[in-house]
Symmetry: C2
Subunit: 428 residues, 2 copies
Amino acid sequence: MKPVKVGLLGLGTVGTGVVRIVEGHQEDLQNQAGSPIHVEKILVQNKAKARSLTIDESKLTEDPWDIIADPEIDVIVEVMGGVEHTRTYLLEAIARGKSIVTANKDLMALHGPEILEAAKNNGCDVLYEASVAGGIPIIRTLIEGFSSDRIIKIMGIVNGTTNYILTKMSQEGASYDDVLKEAQQLGYAEADPTSDVEGLDAARKMTILSTLGFRTNVALDDVSVQGISSVSKEDILYAKRLGYEVKLLGIAECQDDQISVSVQPTMVKQSHPIASVNGVFNAVYVHGEAVGETMFYGAGAGELPTATSVVSDLVAVIKNKKLGVAGRQGAMVYKEKKLKTDDQISSKYFILLHVDDRAGVLARITQVFAEYEVSLESVLQQPNPNIPEAEIIIITHDASKAAVQQVLRSFESLETVRRIKSVYRVEG
Amino acid sequence: MKPVKVGLLGLGTVGTGVVRIVEGHQEDLQNQAGSPIHVEKILVQNKAKARSLTIDESKLTEDPWDIIADPEIDVIVEVMGGVEHTRTYLLEAIARGKSIVTANKDLMALHGPEILEAAKNNGCDVLYEASVAGGIPIIRTLIEGFSSDRIIKIMGIVNGTTNYILTKMSQEGASYDDVLKEAQQLGYAEADPTSDVEGLDAARKMTILSTLGFRTNVALDDVSVQGISSVSKEDILYAKRLGYEVKLLGIAECQDDQISVSVQPTMVKQSHPIASVNGVFNAVYVHGEAVGETMFYGAGAGELPTATSVVSDLVAVIKNKKLGVAGRQGAMVYKEKKLKTDDQISSKYFILLHVDDRAGVLARITQVFAEYEVSLESVLQQPNPNIPEAEIIIITHDASKAAVQQVLRSFESLETVRRIKSVYRVEG
């Protein structure tokens, strides 16, 4: 049987996992895909570098065109990362009729529509299961498993680094800075953790998930993003006392074809299944109109989990190629995008205020909420021995984002409110 | 665009859901499948019966051959249940070149290989996502999402009725009989609950899941089955005290291509994600060699969740038909079946004994474990005011099923052991 020849762009963590699985599971893969799979050429930055894997050196190249322009290469597996030059390489490969498997969330979040369109026009597949939530087959689930349903809401813990940090803060009462330092030492956080802790990585993944879930092209700019660097151990303590955990949640919602997508630290009721997803694990909760509540849980990163998704995509690409249906899987995105405005986005909020400890203050504050028609689920005023002021903890009923912002603006000009200590979206 | 004509066998709960989704989501489905979908004819037992759905009466028929033999019908959706006559109908439909979507776990567990083989030979698809775990797309996940991986273990809460009963017993300290009665009143349990509570329904689903996960034809007879009717509220209380929940788990394992599949009430460590799956919800935990631990959670039954899976399969069947690849999806099962013997099946066990309350008894009992090389994780002897004897609670380390059975047989002939009160497999 003629083997399928794969060109691998990148031999970092995931690339190494891809080679290991393709070699280690060859017999199974041959049964699945219908022919042997050979990793024929591998793009690396430095051929001389020491590796954890024994690889025939003649396969390595430092020149991407050795792979992209090689007519013998059937499929490109892209696990090198990067955006602009990677986009160029993949578009060139597609123009030459090669199907693509990629794990590149940045690329797909920014240029997904262009790349998918090019693939369709050239009769190629582009599959990207590994770009979101590592080993969890959530992209397949949204495209195929729920093709008949209308997705109302997607909530994702899609960044392992921040979930590790928040879990440690919650379980050990530790501060953000201390846990971040530890995570960096353990290799769970990068030396420059900005993309993770500021929510950008999660936002890219939510762009991909919401595009597939709502069948409309969501752009990265459509996602409102807030990271976890301002989450304090006190906030987490208050959350726990009230029965919540603080999680960095991507939340995508759709009502009447109007959508909103955001990433922010969120207080999640402990009884909600996503509240107990801890450490570096990822989970995606999907609420469909017909199917109801579902959740998909697993490793969000790592050499072999992510490589599982890449190689499963590779099997699918090879099958499609053999069946002559590459690039013919039909429209996944066909709806006009309508974004919600801030007064259409509704949720509960947790608000912690430090206020002057004297008569009438609580009345004044609750009056502000009433003015903007934000109704309250619970209000707790208590002394805090660590500060000269009193503390007020408020959980609202569902309220529009716009109204809550107006309330907060009013507080800023209210002298008795010394500071707005924390504001969290509340779910569950 | 020429509509796809669907023949629906059965208009019970799931059939009604199928009609609702096909009608309600018509525009979306047309975009997904590439043509309108019409439910053209519906097989019912009694045309005159009152229904919750308004249906053009001319579509209804009481004669299956009106549908099976109609050359205009492109796809059959089978949601009528039953085994022997249903098998005949579907094989006849396949012989006429019709693809099938079915929710019938009994049929697929008993005759899956025959039906899939017939479909392949006739260029038809048979999809059956709805046959296991309702709305959770677990069959797709095993076939496609994890095609590149080797599955080591599948654990499933795949029967909502028993999970509802065990959850209620755990949360309310109620007895099995009381909760079963309540479940029957609420419609969560059938008047004759045997198939659910004795584990047969779960065994059928585990037959399907293990066949796909291990890529070998597992038969229903290969599954060892024990139901929940002997689970007492005391057992659940002991489990909770030790940090466990009692769940009816389907457990399928594969090491070195040797497999075992069983269904039994199991004590699951509370920290394991499957331990907190409560009520009528289902979950399937999949451990892959490369992907690690994953879990898929959702509604296991119900009109719309199950119909979501049926209609998503329908979309896939229609797409395959249009692409000309029906029946050409390749081998899902290609391994020789090798079953583990009882001395190869290993797990921890919980054993509760009532013993004579006198010197030397514990020594004698632990000696029996030692004789059969079963080592112990924990042993607790305590008085029980409700019985004249003492109680001994043992949790073993991993031990072979055969050895534990020998230990239990020894206890039966040991005078000081008054009764073997409970034995549970332990997971997590």
